[in-house]
């Protein structure tokens, strides 16, 4: 019987193998050359060094391109004190949603027109990050803060941080919970956002106009039960459809405000309810996923909802409500200007939604 051994040596493995095989061993010879000479260590060091250099180059590259893009929001407070241009802090939740991409552009363009400078911070959907960003605005002594909170409740802490430092806060899109504000003893100056309830109702009215007051409609809903605006929209939609007694709501599914999740749950909802003949999708990503689900299953179910970014109205997607985040940003800046000049500003500005029944929403108009 042949025996196996593991053999460690400074000699190259093949030489040891040849020599020892004669004695009837199965050899697993491993040369230790590399370990002794330190060759492996050297290579590892060089490799790590190269990686480090590469990373630094990458970072510089990234920074250079973003400066070449000439984003004025990157400038800090040092620049402001020199130029005496009032600095406004803008806190946004993320930029993965096209909605906030449009809003960010609105702040940049609006600031140029009104002679402000803006410092835009993105919280990556983290409440604590946003609070830290607002606190840094306080340190930079901004003249005002425009806040699109990550979530309604926790955003009150951000408002309070600024309020204590006597910096006025203007909220946009996401409503900061009034109860939490009261608990913190803070208040906001003005809220600017879409009239979500009205938007849902307008699409509901469009359904009545398209189908009549007594059409038999079995409706599936793609929504997000964790966020206030979609809930308000769905309430408005149902309110408008109350005039039709033949409306049945088959099922509500959670689309997570993401097209891929929405597509999955919509296919399953259609599978479970073969009689659904209309879908209400209360955000752009929900509408996008639902529309794709309907198409992929070859069903003739129409999707009514909030607007898919840059997507034309078509047969299966006959009507959509679009918000104008680009405009909301500009309105906020105008209110800040009025406030700083000592003019009276309203507590709340609710913008009507644009209803599309043909064509496609303009750039910056999103559901």
């Amino acid at each position: 019987m042949k025996k196996s051994i593991v053999f460690l040596s400074r000699e190259p493995a093949n030489i040891i193998n040849e020599e020892l095989y004669i004695y009837g061993f199965n050899i697993h010879a491993v040369s230790m050359n590399k370990l002794y000479s330190g060759g492996l260590d050297m290579r590892r060091k060089i490799f790590s060094g190269l990686c480090g250099v590469l990373m630094i180059l990458l970072l510089f590259g990234a920074a250079a391109t973003s400066f070449a893009g000439g984003k004025p929001e990157q400038k800090g407070s040092a620049a402001t004190t020199k130029s005496k241009v009032p600095l406004i802090g803008v806190a946004l939740p993320n930029t993965t949603n096209p909605y906030y991409v449009a809003m960010r552009q609105g702040f940049i363009d609006g600031a140029k027109e009104l002679g402000f400078e803006v410092d835009i911070q993105i919280a990556n959907d983290n409440d604590a990050t946003q609070l830290a960003q607002v606190e840094s605005f306080v340190q930079k002594k901004v003249v005002a803060i425009a806040l699109n909170g990550v979530k309604s409740g926790p955003a009150a802490a951000s408002v309070a941080a600024a309020y204590k430092a006597k910096i006025p806060v203007f909220t946009v899109n996401v409503i900061v919970s009034p109860e939490d504000l009261k608990a913190h003893g803070a208040e906001i100056v003005t809220y600017v956002g879409a009239d979500n309830f009205a938007g849902g109702r307008q699409i509901g009215e469009q359904v009545i106009a398209d189908y009549g007051k007594d059409a038999k409609l079995v409706i599936g809903i793609v929504t997000e039960p964790n966020e206030i605006p979609p809930i308000q929209r769905t309430k408005g939609f149902k309110e408008a459809l109350k005039v039709n007694p033949n409306v049945v709501y088959a099922q509500e599914v959670d689309g997570n405000v993401k097209p891929d999740d929405s597509m999955r749950v919509t296919t399953e909802m259609l599978q479970a309810n073969p009689n659904i003949n209309l879908i209400w999708a209360d955000t752009g990503p929900h509408a996008q996923g639902a529309l794709q689900a309907v198409k992929s299953m070859g069903r003739k179910v129409k999707v009514y909802g909030f607007a898919i970014a840059d997507h034309p109205i078509e047969e299966l997607y006959p009507a959509a409500a679009a918000q104008e985040p680009y405009e909301y940003a500009k309105i906020v800046l105008q209110q800040i200007k009025n406030y700083l000049e000592g003019k009276q500003v309203p507590k709340e500005i609710l913008r009507p939604l644009k209803i599309y029944t043909r064509g496609r929403p303009a750039p910056g108009e999103v559901g």
Partner: protein, 327 residues
């Protein structure tokens, strides 16, 4: 004495059968061929991720970047098509980009000796940011309409993504069972030091498994994008990663390496797809789904652990008896 050895996957397959039968009784919509196809289709992306993850887990590593690679490759394929490339070429390039991320993972883990958790977590951030930087976080509509054949096409009445995952699973099984690379993967996962001493090229083995995982995630990205017909920079960032690791683990793939099979991982993925589909059909509110899936994972893994401990006990009794006998 010869006893028929139970396959290791029996636990997860039994749980799946039980879940399937219960759902079928509760929901008439569930027990149709159409729904079964839909369930497999909706589970295809997680199955692909779990397939790649199995290779990595078998070497004792973990790949946290797969969810982000879905976003990256999805946006890349949309981007390449917007440059005027046809869909097969664009898909090929995005598959390559997935492999590249995997190779990077493997190289950093093996040569710089950073733990896989840290490396893949970092590349996850990189892979997620690249498409956002390039597109300004906007989604890109697919220019080549023929691309939808991947997500919406059929082959022998089965959706193409399901056919793709079946073919991929068969190939993966052959690689693990019949090739030298497969043997090396199990060896590295079993004990990396003895594998090295036995002359196995650990570097190539490690880099390969992460490259395979990147490739599988890229397939996931292409399927997602083709189904939506839009390159979406936050696709794949939800439960996909968690469910894919869970699928493999619930299917008997050990988190510590060296143990597990493709059949197990695919059964795990099918189990999770079945639960997710069944609960929507039963109109269970969405908040319940992670809870139920979490409990299933716990029970599946507990069952495996119990079996393992029992077989170890038997083994140790056998050794004791043998040593007594020798005295």
């Amino acid at each position: 004495m010869h006893r028929l050895k139970m396959p290791d996957e029996i636990g997860v397959i039994t749980i799946w059968l039980v879940v399937f039968i219960i759902m079928s009784i509760l929901s008439p919509g569930f027990r149709t061929y159409d729904n079964f196809r839909l369930l497999l289709l909706n589970g295809a992306v997680i199955s692909f991720l779990s397939l790649g993850q199995t290779f990595v887990l078998l070497t004792g590593g973990v790949d946290l970047s797969t969810g982000s690679v879905i976003a990256m490759t999805g946006v890349f394929s949309a981007l390449f098509m917007s440059f005027g490339l046809t869909w097969p070429i664009a898909s090929l390039f995005s598959l390559l980009s997935g492999i590249l991320i995997g190779v990077l993972n493997g190289v950093f883990i093996h040569y710089v000796k950073i733990p896989p958790f840290i490396v893949t977590f970092s590349t996850s951030g990189v892979a997620l940011s690249i498409p956002q930087i390039i597109t300004g976080a906007e989604s890109i509509t697919i220019a080549d309409r023929n691309f939808s054949v991947i997500g919406s096409g059929r082959f022998l009445s089965l959706p193409i993504p399901v056919v793709m995952i079946i073919v991929a699973a068969i190939i993966a099984n052959i690689v693990l069972r019949r090739t030298i690379l497969g043997v090396h993967i199990y060896a590295v996962g079993g004990n990396v030091e003895s594998a090295r001493l036995a002359g196995i090229n650990v570097a190539i083995t490690r880099v390969s498994v992460y490259a395979i995982s990147g490739l599988c995630a890229a397939f996931g990205g292409i399927i997602t994008t083709s189904r939506l017909m839009v390159g979406y920079p936050s696709a794949g960032t939800g439960n996909e990663l968690f469910y894919s690791i869970a699928s493999a683990v619930v299917g008997g793939v050990s988190l510590f390496g060296g143990i597990g099979s493709i059949l197990g991982a695919m059964s795990g993925a099918t189990l999770i797809a079945t639960v997710s589909n069944g609960m929507t059909l039963l109109r269970v509110p969405s908040f319940w789904q992670p809870l139920v899936i979490g409990l299933i994972i716990l029970s599946g893994v507990s069952f495996d652990k119990y079996r393992q401990v029992r077989s170890e006990k038997k083994h140790s009794i056998f050794i004791k008896r043998a040593s007594k006998h020798n005295k």
